[in-house]
C-alpha cells in the first residue's frame, strides 16, 4: 500500500471509505485528512453518516471499501495512540460501576486487562512481564483525570446516579486517561448544559495546544464555526472540508441539509460541486 506523504503524517486519513447498512449506503466515497494538532467538527444532518465515519475508521464497522490510516498505520497498530468516546446512549447507564472505575478502564494498559493486580500482584511477575505502571498509579491517574473535569466528588458514585452532562464528562475523562494523541468523540456535547460545554471546550482546547488532535461529531453549527478549527461537512458523502468558517458557509450548509439522501443518489462529486 503506497501512502501519500500527507496520508502518512496525518493523525487520521480516510481514503475512499464507503459504508452501507444492509445494502443501504450511509457513507459514499469519503476521503479526508485530519490536520495534526487541530480541532475538527464533523457536521451534517441526521443520518449523514457522522458516527458511521468514526466507527468505520476504528474498524468497529466494516466499510464496503476504502481504508483509514492513523499516522500512516492501520488502527490495530496505532490503537494505543487513539482514544474513542462513543455516544452516551450506547451504554447501559444502570451498569454497576462507579465513575472512577469507568475512567480506570481508560488508564489500564494491555497487561492489566488479563492480569488484574489483585489476581497476580506485580512482585510475583518476572521483571520482563512486569507492568510498567502499577495499577495503584493507574488509580491515581484516573482520579486526577476525573478531578480535572470537575468530577472529583463523584468518583465513587455509581454512574447511574450522575446527570447526563456528568456522564459525558466521565467518558471524556476515560479518554483523557488513555493519554492518546488523537481523540475521536461522538457527540460529546449531547445533553450537556452550556456552562459545562464551555468548560469542556476549554479543556479540549488546552489538550489541543499540547498537540492532541481532536475530531468530534458535533450537532451545533454555530459553535462548530466558532470553536473548532476545521470542519468536515457530511451528507452521505463529503460536502465541504477546510477551515470551520469556510466549510460551514451558509451555502455549503444549505446544500448539505437540503439534499439529505439525494446526495447519495448522485454520487458523482463533479455534479455535486456544480449544483
Amino acid at each position: 500500500m503506497i501512502l501519500r506523504r500527507s496520508e502518512a503524517r496525518a493523525p487520521l486519513a480516510l481514503r475512499s471509505i464507503s459504508v452501507a447498512y444492509r445494502g443501504v449506503p450511509a457513507l459514499w466515497d469519503v476521503s479526508w485528512e485530519a490536520r495534526e494538532g487541530s480541532m475538527t467538527a464533523i457536521v451534517g444532518p441526521n443520518g449523514a453518516g457522522k458516527s458511521s465515519l468514526l466507527n468505520a475508521a476504528i474498524g468497529a464497522l466494516r466499510p464496503l471499501a476504502g481504508e483509514a490510516f492513523f499516522w500512516g498505520q492501520s488502527f490495530a497498530s496505532a490503537r494505543s495512540r487513539v482514544a474513542y468516546v462513543p455516544q452516551r446512549e450506547s451504554v447501559d447507564w444502570d451498569f454497576p460501576v462507579t465513575a472512577l472505575q469507568v475512567v480506570e478502564m481508560g488508564a489500564a494498559r494491555r497487561l492489566d486487562w488479563l492480569l488484574p493486580d489483585w489476581l497476580l500482584p506485580d512482585w510475583l511477575l518476572p521483571t520482563w512481564v512486569r507492568r510498567q505502571e502499577g495499577s495503584r498509579e493507574h488509580r491515581a491517574e484516573a482520579r486526577s483525570c476525573l478531578e480535572d473535569l470537575g468530577l472529583g466528588a463523584f468518583a465513587d458514585r455509581p454512574i447511574g446516579q450522575l446527570s447526563g452532562g456528568q456522564q459525558q464528562r466521565v467518558f471524556l475523562a476515560r479518554a483523557m486517561a488513555q493519554q492518546a494523541d488523537l481523540l475521536l468523540l461522538d457527540e460529546p456535547f449531547a445533553g450537556v448544559d452550556s456552562e459545562t460545554e464551555d468548560a469542556l471546550f476549554h479543556r479540549l482546547r488546552s489538550l489541543c495546544d499540547e498537540g492532541t488532535t481532536i475530531i468530534a461529531v458535533h450537532h451545533d453549527l454555530e459553535s462548530a464555526r466558532t470553536r473548532f478549527d476545521d470542519a468536515l461537512l457530511l451528507s452521505g458523502s463529503v460536502i465541504a472540508t477546510g477551515s470551520a468558517r469556510e466549510a460551514l458557509s451558509e451555502d455549503n450548509v444549505r446544500r448539505a441539509f437540503a439534499s439529505g439522501s439525494a446526495t447519495l443518489a448522485s454520487s458523482d462529486p463533479g455534479a455535486r460541486q456544480l449544483a
Binding site: 444492509r22 466507527n55 476504528i58 474498524g59 468497529a60 490495530a76 490503537r79 487513539v82 482514544a83 474513542y84 462513543p86 450506547s90 451504554v91 447501559d92 447507564w93 444502570d94 451498569f95 454497576p96 460501576v97 462507579t98 472505575q101 469507568v102 478502564m105 489500564a108 494491555r110 492489566d112 486487562w113 488479563l114 488484574p116 489476581l119 473535569l149 470537575g150 468530577l151 466528588a153 463523584f154 458514585r157 455509581p158 447511574g160 446516579q161 450522575l162 446527570s163 452532562g165 456528568q166 464528562r169 476515560r174 448544559d193 456552562e195 459545562t196 468548560a199
Partner: protein, 388 residues
C-alpha cells in the same frame, strides 16, 4: 392421534421419578434430619452431592452475573432447551447402534453440540438482522424446545428401560448421582468459576461498553464466545443436579438477587455466588430429607425466595425503600405546596421539580443507601455545582 401415554406434553408434566436421597433413619424428626444434612452429617454420598451442588451454585452465580450484565441471561435457557434435542438425538443414535447401556458422556456431548448450535444461531441472528438479541434468544429457545419435545416423543417409542436416565437429565436427580457424577459437576463448575474470575476485568469492560472495548483492542467476539461457553459449561454441569429445564433459573436468579444489593461488579459477583451457593445448599439438603422431592426445583425455589425477599427489603433498589423514599419526597412536596414560608425556606435547596421524577436510577433514588434517611434536600439529582 395422541393417546395419553404418548403425548409428550403429558409426559413432561407427569411426576418425575423419585429423586430424593434416602431420608436418614437415625434422625428423630424431619427438622433434625434436615439440620443434620445441612451440617454435612448426611453420609459420604450425600455430602459429595451437596458439595457438588454448592460449587455449581457458586459458579452459576458468578457466570450468571456476567451473562445478565451482558444482557444475555436467557441464553442459558436456549442452551438448555437445545440440549433437550441433543440428549434425545444422542439417545436415539445410541439405540439405533444397538447399544443397551446409556452412556452419559455421549448424551452430554449431544447436549453440548446442540447448545453450541443454539448459541451460534443466536449470535448470527443478532449480528446479521435488525432483530434484537432478546428476540433472537426467544425464537431459538422456543424453537429448540419444540424440536426437543418432538425428539423426546420419538425416544418414547424406543424401548423404555433406559428412559429413566433421560428423565433424570430433564428434571434433575441428585438421588441417582454417583460421586463420580458429582465430581464431574464440581470440576466443570470450578473451571467455569476460575475462568470467570480470571477474565473478570475484560468481561466487565465488554459488558459495559462493547465498542470502547473493541477500540482498546480487546477481542470482543472471542470474549462473547468464551462467556457463552462458560454459560454452556454451567448448564452442562447443572444438567444432572438441577435438570436442563431449570438450569437457566440457577444462572439468572442469584445474579438478579445480587444486583438488588450491590452497585459494583465485584461485590455483585461475590453476592451472586453466595446466593447461588446458599440456594444449592438449602435446596439440595431439603431434597435429601424429603421423600419424592427432586433437588432441582427445590434449589430453584430457594433461589427465587432469596430474590423475592431481596426485592422487598433491599436498600436503595428494593420495593420497600423505594416506597419509603417516595413517601418522604411526596410529604416534602405537599409541605411546599401548602406554602408556609417556613416550609419554603426549609426546603428551598430542593428545587428538584418534575425533572427528577425520571428513571429511578437518576432521580431521587440516587441518593443512595447512605442518605436514605436524609431529608428531601439531598434527594434531588446530583447537582452540577460541583463541576467547574
Amino acid at each position: 392421534m395422541f393417546d395419553g401415554s404418548r403425548c409428550p406434553i403429558a409426559w413432561l408434566g407427569s411426576a418425575p421419578p423419585a429423586t430424593s436421597l434416602r431420608a436418614l433413619p437415625e434422625a428423630s424428626g424431619p427438622l433434625e434430619a434436615w439440620l443434620q444434612v445441612l451440617s454435612f452429617g448426611g453420609g459420604y454420598n450425600t455430602n459429595v452431592v451437596l458439595l457438588g451442588a454448592i460449587l455449581l451454585g457458586i459458579s452459576a452465580g458468578a457466570v450468571g452475573s456476567f451473562a445478565m450484565l451482558k444482557g444475555r441471561a436467557l441464553v442459558a435457557d436456549a442452551i438448555s432447551h437445545a440440549s433437550l434435542v441433543g440428549v434425545g438425538s444422542a439417545f436415539l443414535l445410541q439405540a439405533a447402534a444397538g447399544q443397551q447401556e446409556r452412556s452419559m458422556p455421549l448424551l452430554m456431548l449431544g447436549a453440548a453440540l446442540a447448545g453450541t448450535c443454539a448459541v451460534v444461531s443466536i449470535e448470527w441472528i443478532t449480528r446479521h438482522t435488525r432483530l434484537s438479541a432478546e428476540t433472537a434468544v426467544a425464537t431459538v429457545s422456543s424453537a429448540s424446545f419444540g424440536a426437543g419435545i418432538v425428539v423426546l416423543s420419538a425416544t418414547r417409542r424406543v424401548s423404555g428401560a433406559d428412559r429413566a436416565g433421560l428423565d433424570e437429565l430433564i428434571f434433575g436427580s441428585t438421588a441417582s448421582m454417583t460421586s463420580a457424577d458429582a465430581m464431574l459437576m464440581a470440576i466443570l463448575a470450578v473451571a467455569a468459576l476460575g475462568a470467570t474470575l480470571a477474565l473478570y476485568r475484560v468481561l466487565t469492560a465488554v459488558a459495559f461498553n462493547e465498542r470502547f472495548a473493541h477500540a482498546r483492542g480487546l477481542p470482543v467476539r472471542l470474549l462473547d464466545t468464551i462467556l457463552a461457553a462458560l454459560v454452556g459449561a454451567v448448564a452442562m454441569a447443572g444438567l444432572q443436579a438441577v435438570g436442563m429445564l431449570l438450569v437457566a433459573a440457577l444462572l439468572v436468579a442469584p445474579a438478579a438477587t445480587a444486583r438488588l444489593w450491590t452497585t459494583r461488579v465485584a461485590p455483585m459477583v461475590l453476592v451472586a455466588a453466595a446466593a447461588g451457593a446458599g440456594a444449592a445448599w438449602i435446596g439440595a439438603s431439603l431434597s435429601a430429607v424429603t421423600p419424592n422431592a427432586p433437588a432441582g426445583p427445590l434449589i430453584i425455589l430457594s433461589a427465587a425466595a432469596a430474590f423475592l425477599v431481596s426485592l422487598l427489603i433491599a436498600p436503595d433498589r428494593g420495593i420497600f425503600s423505594g416506597w419509603l423514599r417516595h413517601r418522604q419526597v411526596a410529604a416534602a412536596a405537599r409541605r411546599l405546596a401548602a406554602g408556609g414560608p417556613a416550609a419554603a425556606a426549609n426546603s428551598g435547596s430542593a428545587p428538584t421539580g418534575p425533572a427528577s421524577a425520571g428513571p429511578a436510577s437518576a432521580g431521587p433514588a440516587s441518593a443512595g443507601p447512605a442518605s436514605a434517611g436524609a431529608g428531601p434536600a439531598d434527594a434531588g439529582p446530583p447537582a452540577d455545582e460541583g463541576s467547574r
